[in-house]
């Protein structure tokens, strides 16, 4: 079978292709153009692909590409059909069929690729690709399949008019309307005064009122848009009626025949339809919704928006089977489909609207941070170098911190289990095994355990810091032995102190005023030795002001420690 591919560079920031899919990694033999490796669901946080070294043995050279776009056009031999007869449970053509064939040695089937240069091929399978491919067609990359050539033989002759606007016959356009280049206006459409239309495709028979701003949107046939509306990056299907002053935020999709009332602002990435959202949730969640009759949590934002529109509306009664909510939007009913799996992350990747600038900045910054973090050598890659097509590599992470966080979580979970009555010895055993499996030090264990204990202190309700102090004391007393088990050397205690600082600074600020008190208590309980505390104070001498907050707090105690060590020693010596 031959796959048609086309060069199309993915975005460096978002790691997705122009068409909204994730980057595809392919290994191709440069001479025979055979496809040797195909991966479309790469875990980008790992930044790791595993290739079978047998590939290099069989083929003289391999070229790896991540800038190819899969056109989803395949030229198959008759044998392909036979394969499908035998294995009828291929659900996804690429993930199951292609990858299966690539790994399969028995059948010996080969997949080749063909790269097209000046021709154009692409598949529309989400809203982002709909938008991109529409823009490519309007920009004539798909010549002669362009709006002003009646390639398929139907429809009226659209003319590419002056200023690069595609106009069908019988378009009535006001003199003051401002239409930018690369816009398509369908047959018998009327455009009102002072309207601005840019980068959009308008269908047949639309009536667009005055002072409307349409930007980057797709308006299908027979739509009525009244005066003063603002559409940006929206998709509006046939027969929709938008009343005056409606504002559609980027990424909105309005389905067939919906009427949107006056002055309503439809929030970003929402889908409005006359039909209820097909429910993919199980019965528990449905019952949840049935209980809350008014103001379900997701649609509070919508409710507040509705209130500002100063219109009378009534929330329809909730049917147990419906997961969306019917809203009367001024004059017509409709459902707002909530964004389900993936949340807003998926929405903005595959929406018509471009990714918002804030998010791009965020991605850029995280990218810079990643580049600065030291790259760890891949010491923990599996030694055999087997092809692991579907595994997510958990070894050889470049990021050390993440591992620690995972470990900490595990320790906390173990601790929680310990709370429920598991024997301390068992808890110790578990933590030890965790330490071995995650390749951690004793100090890390101690730190993690301390963290868990402190968190536990927070669980009990408290109203002022004294009570918190009391809680903390209680917990430390309870679990002091466990902690001591791991605090065998001063280094580990040092680590615990640092950890405590982290906690105070980061996660639970409530502890900060109590720092020195708890430190004192820990010393009294002989969990922390003075040596550790003193070396910690020593260390902090040379640090910045911001780091010295806690040393300042504990200054009294430290001073006392310094002055009175002989006493303790003498005491000990005496005893």
């Amino acid at each position: 079978m031959t796959m048609i591919i086309k060069q199309s560079k993915p975005s460096v920031l978002t790691h997705q292709t122009r068409l909204g899919d994730d980057e595809i990694f392919m290994a191709i033999d440069p001479e025979t153009k055979e496809l040797l490796y195909y991966e479309d669901k790469v875990d980008l946080s790992q930044r790791l692909i595993l290739l079978d070294k047998m590939l290099l043995v069989e083929n003289g050279a391999i070229s790896l590409h991540n800038d190819k776009q899969d056109c989803y056009v395949d030229i198959c031999s008759l044998g392909v059909l036979d394969l499908f007869v035998d294995n009828f449970d291929y659900q996804h053509l690429r993930r199951h069929f292609v990858k299966g064939l690539l790994v399969d040695d028995i059948m010996g089937c080969k997949i080749f690729t063909h790269e097209i240069q000046s021709s154009y091929a692409a598949r529309v399978d989400n809203f982002r690709s709909y938008d991109t491919i529409s823009k490519d067609i309007v920009q004539r990359w798909t010549y002669p399949f362009v709006p002003d050539v009646r390639y398929l033989g139907n429809g009226l002759q659209i003319k590419l008019d002056r200023e690069g606007i595609y106009k069908a016959p019988d378009v009535v356009q006001s003199r003051s309307a401002h239409i930018d280049a690369f816009t398509v206006l369908g047959n018998a459409t009327t455009v009102g005064d002072n309207t601005k239309i840019s980068n959009s495709v308008i269908g047949q028979g639309c009536i667009i009122g005055h002072n409307v701003v349409i930007e980057g949107s797709y308006v299908w046939d027979n739509v009525t848009i009244e005066d003063g509306c603002k559409l940006s990056h929206a998709l509006i299907c046939d027969g929709v009626h938008l009343r005056e002053g409606v504002i559609l935020e980027p990424g909105v999709i309005i389905s067939f025949k919906v009427e949107v009332g006056q002055n309503i602002v439809v929030p970003t990435y929402s889908k409005v339809s006359l039909l209820p959202q097909p429910s993919k949730q199980d019965s528990d969640e449905e019952l949840e919704y049935a209980d809350t009759n008014t103001g379900a949590i997701e649609s509070t934002s919508m409710a507040t928006v509705m209130n500002t529109s100063k219109l009378d509306f009534t929330l329809g009664t909730l049917d147990a089977k419906i997961s969306g909510k019917p809203e009367l939007q001024g004059s017509g009913p409709g459902y707002i489909w909530s964004s389900s799996e993936g949340g807003t992350e998926e929405e903005c990747r595959q929406s018509i609207a471009p990714i918002p600038a804030g998010k791009l900045l965020e991605l850029l910054q995280s990218k810079i941070y990643d580049n600065n973090a030291p790259d760890q050598d891949m010491i923990n890659t599996p030694a055999s170098g087997e092809l692991l097509p579907d595994s997510e590599s958990t070894f050889g992470d470049g990021d050390d911190d993440r591992e620690y966080v995972d470990f900490e979580k595990e320790v906390e979970a173990t601790f929680q289990r310990g709370l429920t009555g598991v024997e301390k010895e068992n808890v110790i055993l578990e933590i030890n095994s965790l330490r071995l499996s995650c390749n951690m030090e004793q100090a890390d264990c101690a730190g993690a355990l301390f963290h868990s204990i402190m968190k536990q202190a927070l669980v009990a309700p408290y109203s002022c810091k004294n009570e918190l102090y009391a809680n903390a004391i209680k917990e430390i007393i309870k679990w002091g032995d466990l902690l001591k088990h791991y605090l065998t050397t001063a280094d580990e205690e040092f680590e615990v102190i640092l950890k405590f600082e982290d906690i105070c600074l980061g996660t639970t600020r409530d502890f900060s005023p109590l720092f020195s008190n708890i430190l004192t208590f820990l010393y009294d309980k002989e969990i922390l030795s003075e040596k550790a505390i003193l070396s910690w104070a020593q260390e902090k001498e040379g640090a910045d002001e911001s780091d010295k907050i806690f040393t300042k707090q504990a200054e009294q105690f430290i001073k006392w420690l310094r002055e009175a060590p002989e006493e303790d020693e003498e005491d000990d010596a005496d005893d």
Binding site: S11, L13, R18, D131, R140, T142, Y143, Y151
Partner: protein, 411 residues
Amino acid sequence: MPDIQAHVNDFVLKLKRRKIEGSQATARQTAELLRAVVSHQRLPYTNQALALLDAVRDVGEQLIAANPVELAVGNIVRRVLHIIREEDLTSVASAVDGLGLSTNSDDDDNFEHDDHPILSAAAVAATARSTLRAPSLQTLLEGLPESASAPRPSSSGGDSEGKSKSAERKKLKHDVIEAINELIQDIETCHEQISEQAVGLIHQNEVILTLGRSKTVKEFLFAANEKKRSFRVFIAEGAPRYQGHVLAKELVAKGLQTTVITDSAVFAMISRVNMVIVGAHAIMANGGVIAPVGINMVALAAQRHAVPFVVVAGTHKLCPLYPHNPEVLLNDLQCPSDLLDFGEFSDCMDFSTSGGSPLLHVVNPAFDFIPSKLVSLFVTDTGGHSPSYMYRLIADYYSTDDFVVERRIKS
């Protein structure tokens, strides 16, 4: 006719998908298709010409709508319509002459109860004949007695009438088809006829400049070369298709000294050139030329340096419309992948990260419009003409009724 409609649909589809390249090929295939339409058309007893005209206009409108950029299609359709009208008139004229001038009669009575096409066309024929021939005193005087002496069909015998009628009917179709054959012949041999004039134009030791690759220009240069004229050729490559490279190879194969330059170098090299010879996509009624992109620049350079600018084109490229006519699409924006590689620039066209508005546009116009004042000479298969004369040729080849090819609304 169902089978002919299938052919028409096929051709329309080919035109829509831009599968046919070049005006000559398009013109020839259009003419052949219209010939088939004419031969398949069943003609009624009366008003044959009208029926033919309607049929051809019907098909013609579909063809023109399929590819409005290719003006040769419209030209040929109008030529065929003109042929039909012409043949109709000449057959009427010969019929009138044949039957002889019998009696003067009261026009009204005779005219009313006859359905003979000749009579109704007689008056038309007389006035039209005067336009077919150059107006002279002779024809003007001839016009008057002709209309007065209308033959009486009822006086002639029935059989001879029937025979003459059927003969005429067949004759009309036959004549039209013959004329269309001539037209096809003209289209196919236009290159030879144009090339014959090459010797008169290109003299010894001349330097010729051309842009891109025009078949007509190529044949023109070959003909001059055969007649042992020694000349050199500068070829501007003709971005983005770079057909100039292909022409360079062909000229070198024939032993001509060739220099290849970029389009942007034309102004720099024009002073070394004696004459510019280019082909055209279409010639408008006012003498303006629609030519491949870049030739307007060459024309301006030629004017600046007083170099003669010669356009060679067959008469099938002569369009009776004026450039200001809204039906005429002066340009065709083609695929931008001729200019830039899509893959290389795909990151400039990533709409998700660039705020949704495409920042990079790539435009690839196929044609240029050259105003008639920049053209020195037109060389067509009927000879060399100045731009101001082109409108006269239109009257020879087209009828004014056909300028707008529209299906007549049948009441």
